[in-house]
Structure formats: structure tokens, C-alpha cells
Amino acid sequence: MQVNKKSKVKTKKQPFDYVLVAIFLVVIVITIYPFLNVLAISFNDPIDTMRNVNFIIPRKFTVHNYVYIFTENNLISPFLVSVARTLIGTATGVFCTSMLAYVLSRNDFYFNKLFTMLFIITMYVSGGMVPEYLLLTRTLKMGNSFWVYILPGVIWVYNVILIRSFINGLPQALQEAAMIDGANDFTIWWKIILPLCKPVLATVALFIAVGQWNSFMDTYLYARDLKTLQYILYEIMEQATLKIDPHTAEEQLKNTVSPLSIRMAVTIVATVPILIVYPFLQKYFVGGMTIGAVKD
């Protein structure tokens, strides 16, 4: 995504350059305003929020909404489930994906073609929701167990291809030298390939971690007893559809909080971890995206 700095001669700025900046300032506002709005509501006094919801600086600052969701709503256990599945899922996912990708990058492996084909087919054809649901809940009896968050999605074929094409781009000489020294294939993968793959592993780790953190459908389909943060937010959203009469509500809300404020606070709790992580990995995933799409 870098501008070709060498060939870009310093030219005089045209009016169009400033028009572009103006256009993208509008784009930035449209992208960011909803998040700032939600953030402001989550820190604003619930009764005050009912007057008008369009603001990005809390008018009556309070942390009561957050205190409420972590004490009354018991957000702690869903939060822990979300964190656990993200950490464990990402670690096992990166380990397994990179191991498989290395094997499939080895052209001298006898089953290379066959295995690659078997994996790639599943990108285009899948059994669909009902057979998968039956397999997981009825046949394997994984419903409401933590493993349903980890095992079925431990490998994404797209990520395998991503890592494999990265490995293919590494110099062959390193592997050959190690082989002559008598290192076995596992050692070559672990000691030589993995350290060189850090950029693509960071990309894949980000993809898996975001997927795990954001995952909602698997809870909805298989594990409603093992609630994640996303599922809790969904439940709150469903409950909040009841309309509240502003006249009586004010009485009720004197010492409590409004559904909207709670929802916005939970929304922020579910968003912030991603917000913290992704900008730092940007240079990796932009490169990773390009490898996956162009080279393979």
C-alpha cells in the first residue's frame, strides 16, 4: 500500500488534492462517529440520554453503566469464555495451520497433491448448516462444551494457503542445508520455518483471534449455555426491543439503568479489545491479504 516514493516527484498541490482530503474527512467522520456516539452514551447518565442520543461527549458523565453490567448483569463469566476461546483457539489454530501448511509446501511429500486437493475442495463445497449441526450436537455430542468453539474451526483452508505461499517464497537453501545436517522434518518446521514466518503468522493469528472473539453463530447454534460476550450482547439487544414509556420510565430509572445504556456499554466492552490490537498488526495483514489474493 505504499506510494512509490522514488518516482513520486514533488509536485505542486492542486485544488483536487484538497477536495480529496475533504472527501476522506467525511468518510472518516461517517466511519468513526457511530463508535464515538456509542462510547459517549455508555458513559452518559441513562436518563439524560433519553433526551437526545446525538452526542459524542458525555453530557452527564457516569461509570454507573459499566459498574452495573459487571455486577448485576454478571458479564464476568461470558467475558472469560470469550477470552479463553480467543487465546486457546488462536494458539491451537496457528500451531495446526502452520504445521499443515509446511507439509503441503513440501513438493517432495508423496501425498502433497492429494491432500492439498482434499483440503481445497472443502473451500467450495460444504455439507451445510444442518448436517454440521447434527454432527456436532448429535453424533459427537459436543453441544454446550468448550471444544465446540475450538475443534471444528481449528483449520481454515484459506489460512493454510496463505502460510503455504509464504513458505514457498522462502529460500530453499535453508531447508536443504538443515536436511544435510540431519535435522528431521519436524525440527526444520519448528526451528527454521516458523521463525521466518513471523509476518504471515501474525496475520493468521489476527484473523483467527478476531474470528474467535467475534464469533456468534456457534454459540447460537451449539452452545447457548456457554455464553460469550457477543451472545450476551445479542440477548440484551433482543430484550431491548420492548419500548419504554418515557413518562413512567423516569421513575423506574431513578436508581437503575436503561436498556440502551447497558447495551452501549456492553458494545464497547466487546469492541475495545479489537480496537487495541488491530492497528499494530496492520503492516502484517495488509501484506498477508496481498499474498493470498495475488500469488496463490
Binding site: M1, F16, V103, G128, T290
Partner: protein, 313 residues
């Protein structure tokens, strides 16, 4: 995503032998467990397609395949005659085509304009911000969207009148869904076009400049043709997935009022298959979606080949 370039790798044709297997025992140990995983989690559900031709209810699921009642194409016929089927197909195709059109158009425009920005710092910040919604889950997006778009929501207040964006039982909901999707994905989708633009020979621009081409002429005659192969490949992929409109997004954004226009095939499979415990019917709907998807992909691929563009498969 497998555009294989032939002849790139020198393949040594190996004969099967046990000594070769022993030599590659580490590679085998590192891949066979995943093959078993693949068979269990991906190929057994494919085998589950047999259920589409059987009557499978919760009590008959435990029976072995050959003991279940074979019903031929009855599940498919029942699907096509379902009172919701026509509207569901219409929604799926409508949302899909509108989504592909709006999404591709917006991402290309976004990339084209961003590529022209000469303030590097500003460009970088803009891009970082534009990725943000992509990484946020649909539950969160839905939570925010409903706050903004529901009756009496922030957008209604802003415009001072009722827009009924989320409460009109009409194809307006398709547009709303697609626009939310554009808002979420435009920055992310633009990555690929931007990297295609970065690959265009800079000499072309210099030459055009010398010939006196204006900035817009350069964008139109150099940048756009330069990214054409990328656009075609991505369009093929999206046409292949035309029926795979995700249930998650539709379910989360919809509500009781707009549900008629939010229902798509995958959600329909859930409602009929798991919701009413008619597993055979649900499988048939999923299989229909999958098979049509493959046919669409092959057709799009063929067309791209005929047009002389790079093909996917």
C-alpha cells in the same frame, strides 16, 4: 483462491514404496491427524447430503442410513412449494446482486480516490480507520445500527423526521443491509485494489504525463485497466457465492416487521431444518444452495475465460 501456475515447480514423479513412507514419516505424522480432522468435520457433513433424500426427524436420525425412509426428491419439491421459498429466493438474489454491485463499486471508488491522495500520513490514518468496522462483529454492528436506524433513532432525530429504515416491509431493507455492509467492508475490500494499483508500472503514468494526459484521464486509462484482472477474479468469486448470503447478518439486523424481506436461503434452512426439526428438509435446502453455487462459479469462470481474463480454477 488457487490460481495454479503450471510448470512453476519441478515435480519429481515418485513411486509409492514403504521405504519412502518411512523416510517421510515426520511429514505423515504432521499431516495425517489433520486429514482425519478434515474427514470428520468436513466430509462427514458432505456425506450428510444423503439426508436430503430421506425423511429425517430427531428420532430417525439415530438410525443407520439404510434404515431411514427414502423419499427421493420429496424434500426438494417441498422446498420449492414452500410458501416462503419464492420470497426467500428473491431476497437472496436481490441482496446478493445489490451487495456485489454496491460493494465492488464503492471499494473501487474508495481505492481510486485514496490512491490519488498525496499526503502520505493522512492516507495512512484514513486507511487504518477504514479497517475498523471490518474487525467488529455483526452483533456489535447490529447493536449500533439499530440504535441509529430504528424509529426514533439517532438518524431520525438528525433528520427530524421518521425515515422508517428498519420498519418498512419492503425491499428498502435490502438497500439498508447492503449499505451497512458497504460501510463495514469498504476500507477492507479496497486493500486488494490498492495493492493492484501499486503494481501498475509507474512508467505508464510518466509517459501519460509527458503526453499531456490529465489526472482523470490517467485514472481512467491507466489505473482502471490496470486493476481490471483483479476486479474480474473477485467478481467471479462473489458470483460463486451469490446464494451464500450469511444468516448471521440477516438475522441480527432484522426485526419482526422486516423479516419477510430479510429471510435468505441459509436462514431458511435453519428455520425449516433445525427450527422445526425436519433435518431432511433443511439438508435439502442447504444442498440446493451449495449445488447452485458451484454451477454459478463454473459458469462465471467459463465466461471469464472466454473474455480472455485470468480464471480462478
Amino acid at each position: 483462491m488457487s490460481m495454479k501456475k503450471k510448470g512453476k515447480e519441478k515435480v519429481v514423479k515418485q513411486k509409492f514404496s514403504w521405504s519412502l513412507m518411512w523416510k517421510q514419516r515426520y511429514l505423515l505424522a504432521m499431516s495425517v491427524p489433520f486429514l482425519i480432522w478434515l474427514i470428520i468435520f468436513k466430509y462427514i457433513p458432505l456425506w450428510g447430503w444423503t439426508m436430503a433424500f430421506q425423511e429425517v426427524k430427531p428420532n430417525s436420525f439415530a438410525l443407520p442410513v439404510w434404515k431411514r425412509k427414502f423419499v427421493g426428491f420429496a424434500n426438494f419439491i417441498q422446498t420449492f412449494q414452500d410458501r416462503l421459498f419464492k420470497q426467500t429466493m428473491l431476497n437472496t438474489i436481490g441482496i446478493s446482486i445489490l451487495g456485489i454491485f454496491l460493494g465492488t463499486f464503492a471499494a473501487i471508488i474508495f481505492a481510486l480516490l485514496l490512491n490519488e491522495i498525496c499526503f502520505n500520513k493522512f492516507k495512512k490514518v484514513t486507511q487504518t480507520i477504514s479497517y475498523l468496522p471490518h474487525f467488529v462483529s455483526w452483533v456489535i454492528i447490529a447493536s449500533i445500527a439499530k440504535m441509529f436506524l430504528n424509529d426514533g433513532g439517532a438518524l431520525d432525530v438528525l433528520f427530524g423526521k421518521k425515515l422508517h429504515l428498519m420498519s418498512s416491509n419492503s425491499p428498502l431493507f435490502w438497500v439498508v443491509v447492503c449499505l451497512i455492509n458497504v460501510w463495514k467492508e469498504v476500507g477492507w475490500d479496497a486493500i486488494i485494489y490498492l495493492s493492484a494499483m501499486a503494481g501498475i508500472d509507474q512508467g505508464l503514468y510518466e509517459a501519460a504525463k509527458v503526453d499531456g494526459a490529465s489526472r482523470f484521464q490517467r485514472m481512467w486509462h491507466i489505473t482502471l485497466p490496470g486493476i481490471k484482472p483483479t476486479v474480474v477474479v473477485l467478481l467471479i468469486m462473489s458470483i460463486g457465492g451469490a446464494l451464500n448470503v450469511g444468516m448471521e447478518r440477516q438475522m441480527l439486523l432484522s426485526n419482526g416487521i422486516v423479516q419477510d424481506h430479510a429471510m435468505v436461503l441459509s436462514w431458511f434452512a435453519y428455520v425449516r431444518g433445525i427450527g422445526t426439526n425436519n433435518y431432511g428438509l433443511g439438508t435439502a435446502i442447504g444442498m440446493f444452495q451449495s449445488v447452485v453455487g458451484i454451477v454459478l462459479l463454473l459458469i462465471a469462470n467459463k465466461i471469464a475465460g472466454l473474455l480472455g481474463e485470468s480464471r480462478l480454477i
